[in-house]
């Protein structure tokens, strides 16, 4: 009776699998998740345990990645630091995506002066050098991990808003949306049940790429000492310690740096892989 056609998700997976870099990116992200989830089980030492006998000892069989200036195990601190990176990435981008999707929907759906107000506000927000805005805000507020996540989220929604608005502009006059309006559906229902679910694919890509950017921002803030505060381990504040001892203890800088590099790379490859897989023009 019905025509057999592959569900979209299978076509998507097939295309995604053919992109080896994307699969590698997904593997990296997945690996990071496992590490973060299993942190209490796999970390060999307590990350806050100070050992004055082992200050700045190089990588060895008892401390695989060496110890820092307080004798704490670098590997354990990196494993616990992965939780911070993931948390910041997801919460910050969650906030950004929520604000962006909401404002983008309203702008795209209603158009007119609402659209103008929202999009000019987006332009204003984009004019600020985001990183220095975050610096200024954190300088006023107290630097805590929650403040950082909120500030990164609140300054990072503009791209999502533009994407969602553009999708709405092309979707809102489609016949299935007109049909919903003709059957008496409210604006709220049309926006959230008909248009937004069809606009989410590019948002997913933007969010994945955004997680990488948020992790990078958190690391930078922590490196500058106004991010995650010691003794909580984060890759960024580990780098700060590394900088002070870079001539005598290279392992303090190299490993957290590598972790940031691979994580950001993984998210970027994953995001671009998803983008290529949902792009119908690359149908090969």
């Amino acid at each position: 009776m019905s025509i057999k056609q592959k569900p979209y998700i299978l076509i998507f997976l097939e295309r995604f699998k053919r992109n080896q870099l994307a699969v590698a990116g997904m593997a990296m992200v997945f690996f990071l998740f496992i590490i973060a989830a299993l942190a209490p089980r796999i970390s060999p030492y307590n990350p806050a345990l100070i050992n004055v006998d082992q200050i700045l000892s190089p990588p060895s069989s008892s401390h695989w990645l060496g110890t820092d200036q307080l004798g704490r195990d670098v590997l354990s601190r990196m494993i616990w630091g992965s939780r911070i990176s993931l948390l910041v990435g997801f919460v910050a981008i969650g906030i950004a995506t929520f604000i962006g999707a909401l404002l983008g929907s309203l702008a795209g759906y209603y158009g007119g002066w609402i659209d103008n107000m929202i999009m000019r506000f987006v332009d204003i927000m984009l004019c600020f050098p985001t990183f220095f805005l975050i610096l200024a805000v954190i300088a006023v507020l107290e630097p805590s991990i929650w403040n950082i996540m909120i500030v990164i989220g609140v300054t990072g929604w503009m791209g999502v808003a533009r994407l969602v608005r553009a999708e709405f502009l092309s979707l809102k006059d489609r016949e299935f949306v007109l049909a919903a309006r003709a059957s008496g559906a409210s604006d709220f229902r049309i926006i959230f049940r008909h248009v937004l679910p069809n606009a989410l694919a590019p948002v997913l890509v933007a969010a994945t790429l955004g997680v990488a950017a948020a992790i990078l921002t958190e690391s930078a803030l922590s490196f500058l000492g106004i991010g995650v505060q010691p003794p909580t381990p984060s890759w960024g504040n580990m780098l700060t310690a590394g900088k002070d001892n870079i001539e005598i203890a290279w392992w303090l800088s190299l490993y957290p740096g590598l972790a940031i590099l691979l994580t950001v790379l993984g998210y970027n490859l994953l995001g671009e892989g998803i983008r290529d897989a949902i792009d119908p023009r690359l149908n090969n």
Binding site: M1, S2, I3, K4, Q5, P7, Y8, R174, E175, F176, L178, A179, A180, R181, A182, S183, G184, A185, S186, R189, R193, H194, P197, N198
Partner: protein, 325 residues
């Protein structure tokens, strides 16, 4: 057409789309998609609205149920002017006034199951609020449009064009409408499927006492399905009459050329085709006088100066042409 049997009456419907330009996005020009269209649909009958692509047929359809907001005019539905309604009354009125769209691939939300698509009007109009009741109604509607009720968990991409159009019809039927505006409902379908869907429209009309405003560019289809015909050209109606009168004794040169273009399924009959020259003029700058004079084979001097008005020639046969006045 008896006045008290009239279900829908459209009076002087106008829709101009502003074309903005310049730095202050001022209105530079107006695209006159529909420029004063009047007709009525008697209860239980079908009015066929014909015209070539771009003449404003779909804008009329969308203007009637206010999916586009008409610039001016009146749409009387069961005596009430829909264009005077606020958005809440309009939402209530749409229960009795449904639309079936042209493209069955674009008119169903790809992310909703058939059950949610057909069930949505039942939820938003508070007809069936319990899930069981709704499922029963959806199953009933699916059977009515000739689909199995087992298919309600499926998604639109699993169906063919004809099946999707049936789903669209079931959605329109779900709120028990009195009038269905069908905007080229079969022109996107294969010829083999087309006849089935047309017959479905006719069966449903008999069973539920529906009235149709049937928009199409296919004249053989109009002859099969309509009781009355209105011919549209460049935003205006040129001729209105009962279906037999239009086909047996067309009066407007445009109607004549349209009818002469209908293929005759007999190779021995010589078709006396009237070939129209050129394209339809732009609705941004419609010609002065009669809008059809730039392509008319029987053009007179007056045609480019004075616009002909719609006049009744004989019982119910109305035409806007200088030739007949």
């Amino acid at each position: 057409m008896n006045g008290n049997m009239e279900l829908l009456r459209v009076e002087a419907l106008v829709k101009h789309f502003p074309i903005r330009g310049g730095i202050f996005s001022r209105v530079k020009e107006r695209l006159k998609a529909v420029d004063g269209v009047s007709f009525s649909v008697p209860k239980g009958s079908t009015l066929g609205l014909v015209g070539e692509s771009g003449c404003g047929k779909s804008t009329v359809a969308r203007g009637i149920i206010r999916l586009v907001e008409p610039t001016s005019g009146h749409v009387f539905f069961k005596g009430d002017d829909l264009l005077a309604f606020d958005s809440d009354s309009m939402r209530a009125a749409r229960r009795k006034l449904q639309i079936v769209f042209q493209d069955p691939y674009a008119s169903l939300n790809p992310r909703m199951s058939v059950e949610s698509i057909i069930g949505e009007p039942l939820i938003v109009n508070r007809i069936c609020l319990s899930k069981d009741e709704r499922r029963k109604k959806v199953a009933f509607l699916l059977e009515k449009v000739g689909l199995s009720s087992d298919l309600m968990k499926r998604y639109p991409h699993e169906f063919s064009g004809g099946q999707r159009q049936r789903i669209g019809i079931a959605r329109a039927l779900s709120v028990d409408p009195e009038l269905i505006v069908a905007d080229e409902p079969v022109s996107a379908l294969d010829v083999s499927v087309r006849a089935q869907v047309i017959n479905l429209f006719l069966d449903l009309q008999k069973e539920f006492g529906l009235s149709y405003l049937f928009i199409t560019h296919d004249l053989s289809l109009i002859r099969y399905i309509s009781d009355y015909v209105a011919v549209m050209y460049l935003g205006k109606l040129v001729e209105k009459a009962g279906v037999d009168k239009i086909f047996d004794s067309p009066l407007h040169p445009y109607t004549m050329s349209l009818i002469s273009a209908v293929p005759i399924p007999d190779p021995d009959v010589k078709s006396g085709r009237i070939i129209l020259k050129g394209d339809m003029p732009s609705p941004v700058n419609p010609p002065d006088g009669c809008r059809f004079h730039t392509r008319c084979s029987q053009k007179m001097p007056i045609c480019s100066i004075e616009e002909p008005v719609m006049k009744e020639v004989k019982d119910g046969h109305q035409v806007a042409c200088h030739l007949v006045s």
